[in-house]
């Protein structure tokens, strides 16, 4: 892995040196000319990106990168990044796109551009399918498990009615176990954690009830690349329309894409 990473970094460095003399070209034209799309992907954040049993990268973000390259008619080159260095990789032109479960915020919008949202990422309240629960007030008299100190703990503490019981567990495992063993009726957690439960085919399936905090993932690209941005947005829109994005969501998150994504 390390040698691969070094190789990739060296190749990227060579590429950037090579391009140094050229005045800022159109990234989309560069990609087409080069015949490869370089994408920064996570390798330590399942189900978005991780290393599979056969040592190849796999996950939501990896499938997304492959799909965009395919629709653009070029080969894909996956560049493993961490959450800390994914934006610098883009800014120093080591990659063309960042597909790395990237959330949008004001600071990031100052330095890079974002596509339309391609993946759901949210904290919500989950419970069995037959339980009627659609807003925070419905938690009246119910017991809900959260992981202590998490975003959903802080938010739910504010919005839950006073006669709802919040049980705070030490880590995600405790929260999940409490739900699966029936010690609590509902659980507040991230959709990624819920996906991890669903992947194990549990006897109790946590279905999405209502949203606590929504922070979907966007594809990051350099500023002033209108042609590339347009192309990426078109691919994402087409994938949403023809159901191929929904298939990726079903595969890695175990649930359909939210309607409003």
């Amino acid at each position: 892995m390390l040698t691969r990473r070094l190789f990739v970094a060296a190749a990227a460095l060579a590429a950037s040196l090579g391009f140094a003399g050229v005045s800022h070209a159109d990234a989309l034209a560069d990609i087409t000319a080069r015949g490869t799309l370089r994408v920064a992907v996570p390798q330590d954040f399942p189900p978005f990106g991780s290393v599979g049993a056969d040592m190849t990268p796999q996950g939501y973000d990896i499938d997304m990168a492959k799909m965009i390259a395919e629709k653009m008619g070029v080969k894909v080159e996956l560049v493993p990044v961490t959450s800390a260095n994914r934006i610098p990789y883009l800014q120093t032109n080591k990659v063309d796109l960042v597909i790395s479960s990237l959330g949008k915020n004001a600071e990031r919008e100052k330095v890079i551009d974002f596509s339309t949202a391609y993946a759901p990422f949210f904290n919500g309240v989950f419970g069995p399918a037959d339980l009627a629960l659609s807003k925070a007030e419905d938690l009246k008299g119910k017991t809900v498990a959260v992981t202590r100190g998490s975003v959903e703990d802080l938010e739910l503490t504010k919005i839950a009615p006073s006669d709802a019981t919040i049980k705070r567990y030490e880590d995600n495992n405790g929260t999940i176990s409490a739900f699966l063993s029936g010690q609590v009726e509902v659980v507040a957690t991230g959709n990624v954690v819920a996906a991890a439960i669903l992947a194990k085919n549990p006897p109790k399936r946590p279905e999405m009830k209502f949203l606590i905090k929504n922070s979907p993932c966007y594809i990051g690209l350099n500023k002033n690349e209108a042609a590339l941005l347009e192309k990426v947005n078109a691919v994402v829109a087409a994938a949403k329309a023809d159901g191929s994005l929904n298939a990726i969501a079903k595969k890695w998150l175990g649930q359909d894409l939210p309607k409003d994504l």
Binding site: A145, R148, G149, D153, K167, R168, Y169, E170, G174, S177, A178, S181, G182, Q183
Partner: protein, 223 residues
């Protein structure tokens, strides 16, 4: 050192700490009383009981003394629901502490019983006492007196060990400290306060056990 200590959160969170102390105290009281009672029954069964009971109690004692308390707790809280036994976190914590102290105190009390001279049993019999009366008056009370310091220590250990029940969302003193730490990010302050409270509780408990011993065993019998 540039760290600024800040204990202002005590004003907002003291009810949480008070509740934590109450729950730790309740767990210790129930666990201590029922656990030691269970220990006495098991010690009798293991030392003097009928033949068929000895291996059963022996298996229980070895199982509990050779597995971690946290695993016992998780098994009761997360595992037993699969068998249809659904216990709330407080009941699960109480049960785990009773079972745990029952096994440890069984061995401590059994040591006291087995150290009873043979003549004492015979003395009881010669006074026309039934085996139960002999056990109750002639064997058990002097045995408990003999092992009281060790038993007191075990109860204190169980009280301190109860800290792990915060793992199953019981809102004891450790839970309060963790909760405050996760809200205020004042780790040093939250844990120094809980440390001092645990220290005070342990000293109080030891003194209470000493006082109880003085009440139950008023005569300082020569050994």
């Amino acid at each position: 050192m540039s760290y600024q200590f800040d204990f202002l959160w005590l004003g907002e969170y003291w009810p949480q700490i008070a509740k934590g102390i109450a729950i730790t105290g309740q767990l210790t009281l129930v666990g201590g009383v029922v656990g030691v009672s269970l220990g006495i029954a098991c010690a009798w069964a293991r030392a003097l009981g009928p033949g068929f009971l000895k291996p059963v109690v022996g298996a229980y004692v070895e199982l509990i003394r050779n597995t971690p308390f946290l695993i016992q707790l998780f098994f009761i809280f997360f595992g037993l629901p699969s068998l249809g036994v659904q216990l709330g976190e407080l009941s699960a914590a109480n049960l785990a502490m009773i079972i745990n102290l029952g096994a440890y105190s069984c061995e401590i009390i059994r040591a006291g019983i087995q150290a009873t001279p043979r003549g004492q049993f015979e003395a009881g019999a010669s006074l026309a006492m039934t085996p139960f009366e002999t056990f109750r008056h002639v064997v058990l009370v002097p045995s408990l007196q003999r092992i009281w310091p060790a038993l007191s220590s075990q109860v204190v250990i169980v009280m301190l060990g109860s800290a792990v029940v915060s793992q199953i969302a019981v809102e004891d003193l450790t839970f309060a400290a963790n909760f405050i730490q996760s809200r205020t990010f004042r780790a040093f302050e939250a844990y120094i306060v809980s440390t001092l409270i645990y220290l005070a509780l342990a000293i109080l408990l030891r003194q209470a056990m000493l006082a109880l011993g003085g009440l139950v065993f008023p005569r300082r019998a020569a050994r």
